[in-house]
Symmetry: C2
Subunit: 124 residues, 2 copies
């Protein structure tokens, strides 16, 4: 069995780690942030505001306020409730909502890369 | 007198504004953020923790906790208290503290530029 070798080059521990968080503001203040984007994803998953809210330990009322805030500030609503019919309607994330999810995670990924670059160049 | 001309190209209002905030973590959690950096700047300005704290509506105790947290996590202390002598000592920001202030505002400036770029490329 091979013995575990110790590296001769000492790994430089970072003295400081770059952290942060991001969100999008709209005409009324917060428009899109981590919580709202996850809520959209859960609505897509469950097709129901009640189930989406429950999965995030949010009240239905709170989830509704967040959805309403996004829908009012978006160019087109992110979440719609389909009318009854066979199978009984349900709640849907629109194409505009899907685009919002995609754009937000792109912003998040770019931000993580920005933080990594900053950390490497920090000079501490 | 020349009449004010109306631009024919309609200025595109951004639908969403990229926002965020940043800080540095150290070995014990938060190491450097906006409040801590401004506190360092005020100590440099007033040469006194009491005056610096008062100017920020912080208690002396709270300011001291923040300074102690920075000093413990920094490679070398950011704030030192000079011994009495002629003129009676006073509190100083060290060279290491000055570097921390500079590096943090550089990180902040880079972040503002990052947010502007993201906003322009957002695609909403």
């Amino acid at each position: 069995m091979q013995k575990k070798k110790k590296s001769l080059t000492k790994r430089r521990e970072p003295l400081a780690i770059c952290r942060g968080h991001i969100w999008l503001d709209g005409s009324e203040g917060t428009f899109l942030g981590y919580g709202r984007v996850v809520l959209l994803e859960r609505i897509r998953e469950f097709g129901s505001i009640t189930k989406a809210a429950k999965s995030m330990e949010l009240s239905y009322r709170r989830a509704w306020v967040l959805i309403d805030s996004m829908n009012r500030q978006a160019p087109k609503p992110f979440v719609v409730t389909a009318a009854g019919g066979k199978g009984g309607g349900g709640t849907l994330v629109t194409n505009e909502g899907e685009l919002a999810i995609k754009l937000f995670w792109k912003f998040h990924d770019d931000f993580q890369k920005f933080l990594e670059r900053e950390e490497q160049n920090l000079g501490f």
